[in-house]
């Protein structure tokens, strides 16, 4: 039949070609933006790498006066505050999503979902303000008790400032919670109903159904949500800088003030008058970019593994 080669053959309409080229250029544009970003960060930070070398990554000193720069306290602060946020937000978010999909009456679930989505839309500076006026005084009043009861571990020692790593972790928890909840809810909703019904028909309890069927089925999606949340936590700037204490020191205690990569860039960039200082800040940006890429890479790998298994 002559029509078949017509459809699959080399004769294409120009419209198709234009469409394909247009999409390709859009896709390449995204790639170009990422590459340009990487290049401009690398270019701007050249001075730091030349004068300090890789020691910049593990040096603990940050002294704009002597022009001694080390990124370790910021890397530490970013990773610890983000980890802390996930530690609290993952059980909360996943638990909330399970409740919304499996247990809650429809009307309650809809209302709750709407509120959770609303939480995701709150600008971070507003959350930061809430952090300063609500969270910081609360944490300050709780900290002496924490130090008394948990002071045996180095995690809870020191003066009750209110601002610090713990508060930063809590504010980040609030910010990433909606991501985890909404995404987990979506993937739990996608679990095939017959699977769950079969499990229930076998006499399994709700708990056993959730743990035995729903969560394993949805785990790749849940992991994806968690890593999206982590990405947000790593890069969050305003809310963190308002409550973390902005002190470039590494201390084991969660009550002590810390600093994060995004926060130091936001704080010092405007007044960085010397080339060395500016370059060091851009280097911090490059490190943050690298950390974000690494996290995304690990996420891809994990999700891929989970899917295969």
């Amino acid at each position: 039949m002559p029509e078949v080669p017509h459809l699959a053959g080399p004769r294409q309409r120009t419209g198709d070609l234009v469409f394909r080229r247009a999409l390709l250029s859009v896709a390449l544009f995204v790639v170009a933006v990422v590459l340009l970003l990487a290049w401009s960060l690398a270019d701007g930070s050249r001075l730091t790498w030349k004068s300090l070398g890789p020691a910049f990554l593990w040096s603990k000193e940050w002294d704009p006066v002597q022009e001694n720069f080390g990124a370790l306290p910021f890397i530490y602060g970013t990773l610890v505050s983000s980890a802390l946020a996930l530690l609290v937000a993952v059980p909360l978010g996943v638990g909330c999503a399970i409740f919304l999909t499996e247990l809650a009456p429809r009307r309650v679930a809809d209302a709750c979902t709407f509120l959770v989505e609303l939480l995701a839309a709150v600008p971070s500076v507003i959350l930061g303000l809430m952090g300063i006026f609500l969270l910081v005084p609360t944490v300050r009043s709780v900290e002496p008790a924490l130090a008394r009861w948990l002071g045996w571990s180095p995690l809870f020692r020191g003066e009750p400032y209110g601002v610090g790593m713990l508060t930063a972790g809590l504010i980040l928890t609030l910010m990433v919670l909606p991501y985890i909840t909404v995404i987990t809810r979506e993937v739990l909703l996608a679990v095939p109903q017959p699977l769950k019904e079969a499990m229930l028909a076998l006499g399994a309890t709700r708990w056993e159904t959730v743990v035995g069927v729903s969560l394993p089925f949805a785990r790749a999606g849940i992991l994806g949500g968690i890593f999206l949340a982590l990405g947000r936590a790593l890069g969050e700037t305003m809310a963190v800088t308002m409550v973390i204490g902005n002190t470039p020191k590494i201390s084991a205690s969660l009550l002590a003030p810390g600093y994060s990569m995004a926060a130091v860039i936001a704080n010092e960039l405007a007044e960085a008058a010397s080339d060395e200082h500016l370059s060091a800040l851009i280097s911090v940006g490059l490190v943050l970019f690298g950390v974000t890429i690494a996290v995304n890479g690990i996420a891809r790998l994990l999700i891929y593994r989970v899917r295969k298994a």
Partner: protein, 323 residues
């Protein structure tokens, strides 16, 4: 109309500037008021910070810059052409604290340096008590709060501490952002005052204009003559008297030898090229003349001190060079 539009002065309808946040309250007032005097000229000012102001004027992306810290020789070396520092007003930085039931406290430079060097750690330290007889100071640890963002306020504060404490000069130094030996960092004057109002037994520093506008209690400081001085327009202006003002105006007036001076005071400068393209020179010059006369009168209500007469005379001569 056509003839008027052809004259160069009228061709300039906007001037763009950027820099220091410290004098932003007075600058924004000036530019708004000047627009009423000269409706066809609009002056835009972005308070992006002194560092940003220096960078932008170096690259000539703005018509004027503004800085709270005089440019270093190294920074001036990169300038193509001759850049003038024009002092506009004087401001002050004051220690603020949160101690229940305690009003004005007296400090010395040494005490302030020791607190910020983590050498005085408790409020009832004998050194503080000695300056404040009769005040019942609490037996509590001092919580130090400083700026986390780079700032001219920090520069002025550190510049003073370095003059009164050798240890500060050696260990910490003077810059817009520092490696602080102790304390919590907060963003902006409002961040520092917010954290102080919330944290019992804390101490920090903000610019006087900010403390005044928000009704925050601030301490007096003993000056180089041993007199305890509260920051006000007169005591700030006095700090520029008795200091030799160099021709390029790059001078620090902290710890002034004048016996009536508040010791933590500073000039703030506009950075302007001697030669300006596009007929902007005369327009800038005219604004500066207005600033020296009418503009100066607006300074006190915002917590800034006008230039002393002697400095004003000098600046009047200097701005004639702007083309």
């Amino acid at each position: 109309m056509v003839l008027m539009a052809a004259t160069p002065a009228l061709a300039v309808s906007t001037l763009n500037g950027g820099g220091a946040t410290f004098p932003f309250p007075i600058y924004s007032k000036w530019f708004a008021e000047y627009n009423k005097v000269k409706p066809d000229l609009e002056i835009n000012y972005q308070s992006i910070g002194s560092g940003g102001g220096i960078q932008q004027i170096t690259r000539r992306t703005v018509d004027f810059g503004a800085s709270d810290a005089p440019m270093t020789n190294k920074q001036l070396f990169k300038i193509d052409g001759k850049l003038l520092h024009i002092p506009t007003v004087l401001g002050a930085v004051v220690p603020v604290y949160n101690l229940q039931g305690i009003g004005t406290l007296n400090f010395t430079g040494e005490i302030l340096a020791d607190i910020f060097l983590a050498k005085i750690l408790r409020w009832n330290d004998p050194k503080i008590q000695k300056e404040n007889p009769g005040v019942k100071l609490p037996d509590m640890p001092i919580v130090v709060v400083h700026r986390s963002d780079g700032s001219g306020t920090t520069y002025c504060w550190a510049d003073y501490l370095a003059k009164v404490s050798k240890e500060w000069e050696k260990k910490v130094g003077v810059a817009v952002a520092l490696a602080w030996p102790i304390g919590l960092g907060a963003r902006g004057n409002e961040g520092v005052s917010g954290l102080i109002m919330q944290t019992p037994n804390s101490i920090g520093y903000v610019e006087l204009a900010y403390a005044k506008q928000n009704g925050i209690a601030y301490g007096s400081v003993k000056n180089s003559s041993g007199k305890v001085i509260q920051a006000n327009v007169e005591s700030i202006a006095a700090s520029a008297d008795g200091v030799k003002i160099p021709a390029d105006y790059r001078v620090s007036v902290t710890n002034s030898p004048n016996e009536n001076a508040y010791p933590i005071s500073t000039f703030t400068w506009l950075l302007i090229y001697e030669k300006n393209a596009g007929g902007k020179g005369p327009v800038i010059r005219e604004f500066l003349k207005w600033m020296l006369e009418d503009g100066q009168k607006m300074a006190p209500e915002l917590g800034f001190a006008p230039l002393p007469e002697r400095v004003k005379k000098m600046v009047e001569d200097t701005i004639e060079k702007i083309q």
